[in-house]
Assembly symmetry: C3
Homo-oligomer: 205 residues x 3
């Protein structure tokens, strides 16, 4: 969708698998049936981008292209296989947290690029970046009747916000959109890994 | 909206009344006030189609045509009249379950047809079929801060998924869209009635 | 967006500040972190209009113009400053309820005008009026996994419904759209202030 090179495509694919697997495991932990588990997996992987496409007036890519769906399906399948065997602290293991951080970076950067292409305000770009990054997981929390985890604690949405916020000035300074997308992704990834490493938190008010 | 003959129109109208009544009764059971009961009734009847229209880039029919709204209003009115008299197992009685199954079939088949008209991928057609069938009820569950019933158990969304999944191959094999819509509706209805009769369930994982 | 004079613009700005502050305080009361508090503030102020824009096929104003966002940001900032000092019955004080009622009137009237401009049915106009008025607060309730307050009790959505319902006949009788918008706003404000003064409620069923 946004041209930012092969490395970026790979990051995006890793994110689709990770998000789908995390969403499906969350559904399985909540005792949903197979349909519910699949819905949570696909929604976590594709829901952020779908919501963003709605906001910018596009028919969602997720309903048109097959490739994203197939990659997300692999993540759901992986979760179904794993669900019976591994439990509990899988979600806290680097095997999940690292690909999840890569996905957050790729998704938020894509969201920022779509916002810029659509001519949104800087605030609009921050919204599309953040929503693409954390919207799928938040929607799946809502389906489980839970307050989205990103609103509570954890330094997870903030990297996406910052990754979105750097994009409009970068473009205004003359950076091409592809490079801006990579810059956004790098900022998100660095902040998210830093948060995991050093336990950063936002204050409550 | 989709041309599939008079019988199909009748199925659709039955569904609007049944969905609106079920939604309004759910609101009444949850002690909502009259506004809340009306919102739940209209949302259950019209919310799935409205969400689908948003996904395919249309201004929702529900906000433009009067006829669907009037039929749904009849369902809400019916529920308000019934709410004081009948209780509890009404929702499990054939007088509700049968028209509800007819509505599920008509709605899911309409959703599949809209997805095909819009040129969505097969996955996209399954999404529009399922969302048109179960989206309204799920949104009303969300407004009540409940996990949507279709994600948990019950063989209710699965017929809509299958009804959506048969449509793209049928069209690819040369079946006209009207006939495909009837085929989808037949598949959904047969599966849903089978589930009610034989107590089918999906496994959890 | 809708031309209805300077007084109306001022009402709208008061509403943005009040809604953003109420939303942010709600987030703070629910122990969200700073990101969550900001999301609830912006969503309460801008979420109703954003949802309405989606329904009528527009890219949301909230993502394009800076002025609404800046006004809402002032409301969020105000709430963050107040959160530590004032507690509890602030939400019930006239200092909150009065600007909130003004905002409800301005928002619902704008929603009615947008619905009429888009050529929606009278039901559609009621939906856009109501959703613009109470959609932001309801979405923020949903993010907190609560049943939206407007569905339960309180005479809060009903003024918006009535304000929307008077607009199509007024336009049909030849009233210009600007004057119709002021009429809608006046009806909403009068009903909401009456409800606060006399404790009106809708019945449950």
């Amino acid at each position: 969708m946004v041209e930012a090179g092969l490395a970026f495509e790979v990051m995006n694919a890793i994110g689709l698998v990770a998000f789908a697997a995390v969403g499906a495991l969350k559904g399985s932990d909540a005792d949903l049936d197979l349909f519910g588990v699949a819905v949570l997996g696909f929604l976590t992987a594709l829901g952020g981008g779908t919501t963003r496409d709605l906001l910018v007036g596009r028919i969602p890519t997720s309903l048109q292209s097959n490739i994203e769906v197939l990659i997300a399906a692999a993540g759901v399948a992986l979760a179904v296989v794993l669900a019976g065997r591994v439990r509990g602290d899988l979600m806290e293991s680097p095997a999940v947290l690292l690909p999840d951080a890569i996905g957050l970076a790729a998704f938020a950067a894509t969201g920022a690029a779509v916002g810029i292409e659509t001519g949104l305000s800087p605030f609009g770009v921050v919204v599309t970046a953040t929503l693409t990054g954390v919207g799928g997981g938040s929607l799946s929390d809502l389906l489980l009747a839970r307050v989205p985890a990103v609103l509570r604690e954890d330094f997870y949405a903030t990297p996406a916000v910052v990754g979105g916020a750097v994009a409009p000035p970068a473009v205004a300074l003359g950076l091409p959109l592809g490079a801006t997308t990579l810059l956004s992704a790098g900022v998100v990834l660095a902040l998210r890994l830093g948060a995991l490493r050093y336990g950063w938190r936002l204050p409550t008010v």
